[in-house]
């Protein structure tokens, strides 16, 4: 099925915002798929990292609704392998930040069972709070 997308000033604005937050030039992505091929968490994602990049290039805010941006574990595998030297981890972080800065958390710490909290190392809890709460 062909999906027609018209790029509006609003789309352009969204792309620029992600460029600015991530410090990356997202239009450099040539959609080779190396990031998706090496991503250790891609099987848990609803869209691949390269699809995420494409949606941002086209300024499609729907990218923010995808689970993939939260499943990213910031492992930097894509970052070291991108032939265009784009730090894809930073792009995912920028997308998470856009949501978190609207005071919408992705995790409810209170809902985690006490026994679980007791056994988790601090680095797990602090990093989850840093990545999933605003």
């Amino acid at each position: 099925m062909i999906k027609k997308i018209e790029i509006s000033p609003d789309n352009e604005k969204f792309l620029n915002k992600v460029n600015e937050l991530s410090g990356e030039v997202i239009t450099l992505c040539e959609q080779c798929g190396t990031c998706s091929g090496g991503c250790p968490l891609v099987t848990e994602m609803d869209i691949t990292p390269s699809q995420m990049m494409r949606l941002v290039q086209l300024g499609q805010k729907e990218v923010l609704d995808h689970k993939a941006i939260w499943v990213c574990a910031s492992c930097f595998t894509c970052t070291v392998r991108c032939p265009r030297q784009i730090d894809v981890s930073k792009v995912a972080e920028a997308l998470r930040q856009i949501i978190l800065r609207q005071a919408v958390d992705h995790i409810d710490i209170k809902a985690i069972p006490k026994e679980e909290i007791a056994c988790l190392p601090q680095i797990a809890l602090v990093s989850a709070c840093r990545k999933f709460t605003g």
Binding site: E20, L21, S22, G23, P40, L41, T43, E44, W70, V71, A73, S74, C75, F76, T77, T79, V80, D87, S89, K90, E93, A94, Q97, H106, I107, I112, C119, L120, P121, Q122, I123, A124, L125, V126, S127, A128, R130, K131, F132
Partner: protein, 315 residues
């Protein structure tokens, strides 16, 4: 600084090289066995890890958003503490901060890099901490493995009194000491630093491509089964290649690969448990140290049956 620690340091270590040591939160709790075995190992090699007075949490993850300067303050504050250690004479002209935890290493080194490369950011951070002296940008962040490498594998080999013969170990590196490449301590695609240390201990090292595959990191808080699937792949692949155990240097990798084996078994009933060591635990055995320093009671999968079967420990 922990006063008992200082006393102990003074009484046992005259003449040892002294390094500012940043423990981080987890080394004081779930990874106490990592800290104890590393401090003992370092001491045996003539290095004293001096805990940084009044250290604070580094933030555990390096903030990747360009405009998010405030989250770098915590890391920089620890660099100021290292400057003070030099000013007060606790260490002599030693700006190398040593860390054990991979997450702390990544956060501290990435922050330091940004501060060194961006004078404007450094100035802003210094202005935010108006009650602290300025960070001058002179600290160097070193992972404990790099320190061991700089001492020389030969020196490690000389200290071995009980070679770990017939022990088949797959080293696991995780992400935070390998990526991004600007802060890596080794080749991000084919690291060998743990292999070199393990070989000096007499271990048969098993190489697996999963040595650098992410364990799922903080996803363990949100959904432990995401981590369990990755742990299953990493551990069962190592076993297929003949490994009897894994080594790591990251308390979060250790948690995900060791404790999460419980979740792995729920999903894969045929899965066989495999011990996960901190590499320094194996060093303490090979150096013939007292069993009090091994800290195996903190390992989830008990490594003692394996070690006993190889006659490496007694009980």
């Amino acid at each position: 600084m922990n006063p008992t620690n200082t006393k102990e340091t003074k009484s046992t270590s005259s003449g040892n090289m002294k390094f500012p040591y940043y423990p981080g939160c987890t080394l004081k709790t779930t990874a106490k066995n990592f800290e104890n075995s590393a401090i003992a190992t370092a001491r045996a090699l003539g290095v004293e890890l001096l805990e940084i007075p009044r250290w604070n949490c580094c933030g555990t993850v390096f903030s990747l958003a360009q405009d998010d300067l405030i989250h770098h303050v915590a890391s920089v504050r620890n660099f100021i503490r290292v400057q003070e250690m030099n000013d007060y004479g606790l260490v002599k002209n030693e700006n190398r901060l040593v860390t054990l935890c991979s997450m702390c290493f990544n956060t501290l080194k990435s922050t330091n890099r940004r501060m060194k490369e961006n004078a404007e950011d450094l100035q802003k951070i210094n202005e935010l901490m108006y009650r602290e002296e300025d960070y001058k940008g002179n600290v160097e962040v070193l992972h404990f493995l790099e320190l061991l490498k700089s001492l020389g594998y030969e020196k490690i080999r000389e200290k071995v009194t009980k070679p770990l013969k017939d022990l088949n170990i797959a080293p696991y590196y995780g992400c935070m000491i390998l990526r991004p490449k600007e802060i890596a301590i080794d080749d991000p695609e084919d690291p060998t630093i743990q292999k070199d240390i393990l070989e000096a201990l007499g271990v048969s090292v098993i190489d697996t491509p999963y040595k650098k595959v992410c364990c799922g990191s903080y996803q363990t808080v949100k959904d432990k089964y995401i981590v369990a699937e990755l742990a299953y792949d990493i551990l069962s692949h190592a076993r297929k290649k003949g490994a009897e155990a894994l080594t790591t240097v990251c308390p979060l990798c250790a948690f995900n690969l060791d404790q999460r084996q419980q979740a792995v078994k729920e999903k894969h009933p045929d899965f066989e448990e495999m011990p996960v060591f901190y590499i320094t635990q194996l060093m303490t055995i090979a150096f013939g140290m007292d069993k009090d320093v091994f800290g195996f009671e903190q390992n989830y999968v008990d490594p003692r049956p394996l070690l006993k079967s190889k006659s490496l420990i007694e009980d």
